[in-house]
Point group: C2
Chain length 344, copies 2
């Protein structure tokens, strides 16, 4: 299509926001910042790592000698429980108190691993822990939203290479989730189907943005992708949250997470940095048939292991902009081997 | 106020989105990425710089021997003129063509300068050029929005230290501007005043978030600031766009830009990276009494010249989060000397 070869806008149907696509722009020479190449830890145990089993953390607590995925309350949490309820509303300055809980989830006791290097069965154990946390945190009074996410790599503000993610559970439903809530609710009202069910059917039929697929999940570069190699993993069934995954689905989820992160590492033969997050139904006690959970990966690398896309000036004051199209990105990712480059 | 000492949310009245503030979180130790300290160019002319006067650019064009602020069409533009008008709407995938013009604005022929190191009268000349560009680009058919911005520093994706900014002028009104449009329009309808007039009156009265002020402008850390040392410069008069500035106002604008960027450099005694952008009325041919232009600075540094705030996992999938409060940031900035640290 001619449209896709020139600058154009695409609509994100989940947030109702637009992204500017400039396919002609990859020709520009790069004279800007280059990042340090990632140094992958070799040791399975690092005595100075505050996440390794048995080590002492910054606040003096000691990690147990855990052998399975392990979670604990973040020592320097952004959200705290039992914050007294207060509202401030003085004309044009409005604030409200917020309570919540921040947890850290160690994916493995092995310091040297990352998701693509873990066995599928070990990723399944991480998902079991995520399910437990989503359920338990979500049932607490005053916890209406649970965000499970991972910042991977120094480039993504991750301060420790030990394989781990975070969970921030809180009282309010955050902005990005509210936007998606609106899209899910209004589509459900009109069609009695989730918007993502219809979207993935359309994508599977078209094929051009699909990266990998298995019995229960599809991974694709969304039509409205912002980050160069952004991927969204969606269950084929309209599950509202991860606790609804049965054993077979959990196995497929682990499988596709391993595949997506392996493709990423293989792209530039590096430990690929990203932020990944699972958007799912609020834990506000209501039923959410309109919701369809999905795990998104936002990786910053653009051209090589050391050149990233900057979301700066125009992106901050106007809207996101990308250079390669979603179709090009999917095509490149799809053609990469599914075996990790360090093991090939 | 008790509320401000614990985690809380604050409302951005211009975008209607919330930011999570976690004042207790600055205590966390930093073991993450540290950035290279900025190396400031010493030479007033660099033969390898594609923005210096008389030099050849990547596409073969030669810069004139300019002595005043100089603008030209970006050689690797994200937006192009004369894109054929097309719309694609296939169920859940929607796109539309977009045409526009991207320009580069060299602030000075002197390679070694930055805004805080320029003379006020030379910053005034930059503003004159911005006014001319806003007017001329805005009058073109199919240009309904003009964004003037600067990415400063490698950390903000800037590929060249030569003092320069950019202008992206385009057909559509971008997402961030649409959000502000809504806020401006609905406030105007109710009050026949701009929302920023009332907001800055309230802030000037309160005082605690004001950084500097002069006869025609105020610079403050907005109540809803996202970036650690975010600042917004607002004209006291409700001007919809920069072309409405008269000579005295232009002088005050140049003065306050110099002051704000000087405070930034003095904060960590470094050439402070930021993205700055001027949000102003669309150039859609309509009158915009509801608009009130403002220049915002989004600087990433948090703790020192080498430790920045990462807007990653939680911020991408939920909403922005900050550690220090707007009041703390304003207080720190306000107390810094107004003379540049390299000249003190
Ligand atoms: O045009 P430049 O300076 O090469 O590019 C820089 O600014 C642009 C506009 O904010 C961004 O899209 C790019 O990611 C950034 O690297
Ligand atoms: O909690 P960490 O890993 O120290 O911090 C990291 O993740 C947080 C949640 O995305 C961000 O707010 C921080 O900016 C980032 O550095």
């Amino acid at each position: 299509m001619q449209l896709y070869e020139k600058p154009h806008y695409r609509l994100n149907i989940l947030t109702n926001e637009w992204v500017l696509v400039s396919p002609q722009r990859t020709k520009r020479p790069w004279q800007g910042k280059s990042e340090k190449a990632v140094v992958v830890p070799q040791k399975t145990y690092d005595p100075s790592c505050y996440l390794c089993p048995g080590n002492v953390r910054a606040n003096g607590a000691t990690n147990p000698e855990y052998t399975e995925p392990y979670s604990f309350v973040n020592d320097f949490a952004a959200l705290l429980p039992d914050v007294p309820h207060e509202v401030f509303n003085q004309g044009l300055t409005q604030a409200k108190s917020e309570s919540g809980i921040c947890k850290v989830v160690c994916f493995s006791p092995d310091h040297s691993l990352t998701l693509p290097l873990m066995k599928v069965e070990d990723i399944e154990k991480v998902i079991v822990l995520w399910q437990k946390e989503y359920d338990e945190l979500g049932k607490l009074p005053d916890i209406n939203h649970v965000l499970i996410f991972e910042n991977k790599g120094e480039l993504m503000g991750c301060s420790n290479p030990h394989p781990h993610g975070q969970i921030w559970a809180q009282q309010s439903i955050p902005t990005e989730v509210l936007k998606k809530n609106n899209a899910f609710a209004s589509y459900w009202e009109q069609h009695q189907k989730t918007i993502l069910s219809d979207y993935i059917s359309q994508e599977i039929e078209a094929g051009e943005r699909i990266v990998v697929q298995n019995n229960h999940f599809v991974a694709l570069v969304p039509y409205w992708a912002v980050w160069p190699y952004e991927i969204m993993i969606v269950p084929l069934e309209p599950l509202a949250h991860i606790s609804q995954l049965d054993e077979a689905q959990r196995n497929s989820f682990a499988q596709i997470i391993k595949e997506v992160t392996t493709l990423y590492d293989n792209l530039f033969e590096t430990s690929f940095p990203y932020s990944a997050g699972i958007n799912q139904a609020p834990t506000d006690g209501k039923d959410h048939p309109e919701w369809h959970f999905h795990m998104s990966f936002y990786p910053p690398l653009l051209r090589s292991a050391t050149v990233k896309k900057f979301m700066v000036g125009y992106e901050m004051f106007a809207n996101p902009q990308r250079d390669i199209t979603a179709e090009q990105a999917a095509d490149i990712l799809r053609k990469l081997p599914l075996i990790h480059y360090t093991k090939a």
